[in-house]
């Protein structure tokens, strides 16, 4: 990671930046379920205070609907951020160009890598999985179908888990890629758990690599959800391809 100029000077400790270093200024908006009056503004300030904003200023308050007030609050946060203590999921694999991915599959598998993709449950959002799989790709990168050494089967949307397990078996696939976009009532988490449980039950440790993706996933939840890898917002096909060859080499060298 490149350190911005300001960082070195403060030894990795930063505060939000409004218009001068160290002013700690942030903006915040929220709604409280109370009618707009002086007390409501006081309540907004109390919340801001508890969130570490001091001094804070209600710069906008507006009554909404019946019994609700919308606030915009500006203020300086008292908290310090220690950049050196931040934990992130580092990419655990090198990013490879397509030809290296192909060469690696050829060398380690000596056959095509079989990838099965789908949106499970009632989710009908296919643009994300298509971005990863279709030749057209995403963000200027070609999708997995473009990789000579991969055989890609895109089952589309609204695929049931049993159907997916069945196809994965029939096609003897190496990796299953699943997309989940709708997250209301944690539908994505529930569906992913159902997915991993079904594969565990049907195939045990010989199950294919399970990869899920979608804009609202937390990539740190792999263990909890029983899958091998989670991809989030803005994922590119190249990342996924590089991960797949890395994971195949690491763990199994093919699940057949």
């Amino acid at each position: 990671m490149n350190e911005p100029a300001g960082l070195a000077a403060t030894g990795g400790i930063v505060r939000p930046y409004g218009d001068t270093t160290g002013d700690g200024m942030v903006q915040l908006s929220f709604t409280l379920p109370i009618p707009h009056d002086a007390r409501a503004e006081g309540a907004a300030l109390q919340l801001a205070g508890k969130m570490g904003m001091a001094p804070a200023m209600v710069v906008h308050a507006k009554a909404m609907s019946e019994g609700f007030t919308f606030f915009v609050v500006y203020g300086s946060v008292t908290h310090l951020v220690d950049v050196s203590k931040v934990e992130v999921i580092e990419r655990e694999y090198p990013l490879l160009p397509a030809k290296d991915v192909n060469a690696q599959i050829k060398r380690t598998l000596r056959r095509k890598l079989v990838v099965l993709g789908a949106c499970i449950g009632t989710d009908a959002h296919t643009v994300g999985i298509d971005a990863i799989l279709n030749v057209k790709g995403f963000a200027g990168e070609k999708g997995l179908e473009y990789y000579r050494e991969m055989r890609v089967l895109n089952l589309g949307a609204q695929v049931s888990v049993p159907e997916l397990v069945h196809r994965a078996r029939a096609e003897r696939c190496d990796a299953v890629l699943v997309s989940q976009v709708v997250t209301q009532r944690d539908a994505h988490l529930r569906n992913t758990r159902e997915l991993s449980a079904a594969f565990r039950e049907a195939m045990g440790t010989r199950r294919p690599l399970l990869v899920v993706g979608g804009p609202r996933f937390d990539p740190a939840m792999t263990d909890e959800l029983g899958v091998d890898r989670i991809f989030g917002r803005g994922t590119t096909p190249g990342e996924v391809a590089s991960y797949l060859v890395h994971a195949m080499g690491q763990h199994r060298g093919g699940a057949r």
Binding site: S29, F30, T31, K62, M64, S65, E66, F68, F70, G121, T122, D123, A124, T126, V127, D130, G156, A157, Q158, V182, Q184, R185, A187, P215, R233
Partner: protein, 526 residues
């Protein structure tokens, strides 16, 4: 607002486009006239008043209409329709009512037969009487709407402001919808739960468990319409209610909408095919019936061209939107819908990073406006290029609203700056409405002054899209619409006619097929 033409579109090209759309849809209409579906037949029973679910089978999710239609199908087939066997049995089997018959079907004691000769005539007459009663209920609800609008009034401005609620729980939706109306919504849409499109039955009762939307049920319709009637009086304008006649139960949902006085229904000719993988033939057969019901009920349909632009590029594929609008129009006219009932869809979905994106949007919106001067048109906000940058999103929505008023759109679906993040919060809706109000207030009359330069960028772009649309229609007429859909012409999504969900529910009609609802609606339509 009267629409004065400003683009200088060539009248001959416009007429040619309509002629081609007519020809492209004719074979599909023929298909719809020679087939029926389980859902069309269930809609006939619903119209005749059959309600409720089988208490012994499943856990309350199997409606009687499904039980009866499935039983008729098993015993004698659906080639003649459900009406002849059902009303023959009803007449000769000593039942006290249609519901009584349903219960006996449930207990397995009914043996249906397709009546012939005099029996057939009598059964058909009885079925017609029952369907006539059902249609008169729909007619009554339509008159009631007209009366309420006369008494309470229509929104003062065009476009009508259209807001969505989507909590999954009808009892949460109701206060949200009322709040939306008080805040300025002229139309409230309750989006449906994910997955409902693929249910081959209509759920029953008041529901509280939807995902990203609320189930469409007759009871939910009734509750929401009643709540909006209350708030309409309070705000002094008739607040319209929208739901979705789409998916596998489109004809039944249309019927329930007519019976419960819904005012607008999403009812696109291809949405279910492209975005839910429902079989094309099933969709077109179901759709024709549902549109006839909408025509009868005075419901404004909303079509879904905006959705194509989420999977296809809004510039490269702009002409597919125009083509689809023309096809939707042709299908709608054939089903008896009048121009004022055609909320044809289109959207502000061009990538904002490309140069002159606003002028391109303006050109597309004006083209739609001038091609369909008497249709209300439904103008849909940016979704695909909305991101977590809600501030940028708010600006885009402002530009979207500006086009809405500049081009005289009839229905404006309010865009949310949090489109890419969450289903709308209370404050999102409030901010979005402020955005709309500011634009309508600041530039509501701009259309009077605005006229694109002759032969300039906007006029040329509109002309180009129309030309491309005519070329595509030409190809569709040659290849057949079903083949075009199979090839991925719309939304770059390929849907072959022999695949997709619900095909098993399609039945070719026999010569003596009888559908009392269709017969009555076709008679008044002509």
């Amino acid at each position: 607002m009267t629409i004065r033409p400003k683009l200088g579109l060539d009248g001959r090209t416009v007429r040619k486009a309509r002629r081609l759309a007519q020809r492209a849809t004719a074979p599909v209409v023929e298909l719809a006239k020679t087939h029926t579906t389980v859902s069309v037949e269930r809609a006939v029973l619903r119209l005749a008043g059959m309600t409720g679910t089988d208490p012994t089978l499943g856990s309350g999710e199997i409606p009687w209409v499904n039980r009866v239609v499935d039983t008729v199908r098993d015993q004698v087939g659906l080639e003649y329709g459900v009406a002849l066997p059902v009303w023959h049995e009803l007449r000769t089997g000593g039942y006290s009512s249609l519901d009584d018959l349903a219960e006996k079907v449930g207990s397995g004691s009914v043996q249906f037969a397709v009546p012939t000769g005099k029996d057939r005539d009598r059964a058909a007459r009885a079925a017609l009487a029952a369907a006539r009663l059902g249609l008169s209920n729909i007619d009554r609800r339509r008159k009631e709407r007209d009366r309420l609008i006369r008494r309470i009034g229509d929104p003062k401005q065009r476009p009508w402001i259209y807001l969505i609620v989507a909590t999954g729980d009808i009892y949460e939706d109701i206060p949200q919808a009322q709040a939306a109306a008080r805040a300025g919504a002229d139309v409230v849409a309750v989006i449906r739960s994910t997955g409902q499109s693929l249910l081959d039955y209509v759920p029953e009762g008041a529901t509280r468990q939807g995902f990203a939307g609320t189930y469409a049920t007759q009871e939910n319709f009734r509750l929401m319409r009643a709540a909006l009637d209350d708030v309409s009086k309070e705000v002094g304008r008739y607040v319209r209610l929208t739901n979705y006649a789409s998916g596998l139960c489109m004809p039944e949902i249309a019927t329930l909408a007519g019976l419960e006085r819904l005012d607008m229904m999403l009812n696109d000719s291809m949405y279910g095919i492209l975005f839910r993988d429902i079989n094309p033939i099933r969709t077109f057969v179901d759709q024709r019936f549902s549109r006839m019901v909408h025509a009868r009920a005075g419901i404004i349909i909303n079509t879904g061209e905006d959705n194509y632009l989420t999977t296809a590029d809004a510039v490269d594929e702009a002409h597919t939107v125009t083509v689809s609008q023309l096809l939707n129009e042709a299908f709608a006219h054939e089903a008896g819908l009048a121009d004022w009932q055609l909320g044809l869809g289109h959207a502000f979905e061009i990538n904002p990073d490309i140069p002159e994106s606003f002028r391109l949007e303006l050109a597309h919106a004006m083209l739609a406006r001038e091609l369909f001067p008497d249709a209300p048109l439904k103008w849909m906000p940016p979704t695909k290029h909305m991101t977590g940058d809600v501030f940028r999103g708010y600006l885009l929505d402002g530009f979207f609203n500006l086009i809405g008023t500049m081009t005289g759109q009839g229905i404006l679906l309010v865009g949310m700056m949090t489109e890419a993040v969450v289903t709308p919060w209370l404050s999102d809706r409030d901010l979005a409405l402020q955005n709309v109000r500011y634009v309508l207030n600041a530039a509501g009359g701009l259309h009077e002054d605005f006229r694109p330069a002759r032969g300039g960028f906007i006029a040329a772009r509109a002309k180009q899209v129309l030309t491309e649309a005519v070329d595509l229609l030409d190809r569709i007429v040659d290849d057949g619409l079903l083949n075009a859909i199979a090839d991925g012409t719309f939304g770059i999504t390929k849907r072959p006619a022999d695949r997709g969900r619900g095909l098993e529910g399609v039945v070719r009609r026999a010569d003596g097929y009888h559908n009392p609802a269709l017969e009555l609606m076709e008679a008044t339509g002509e």
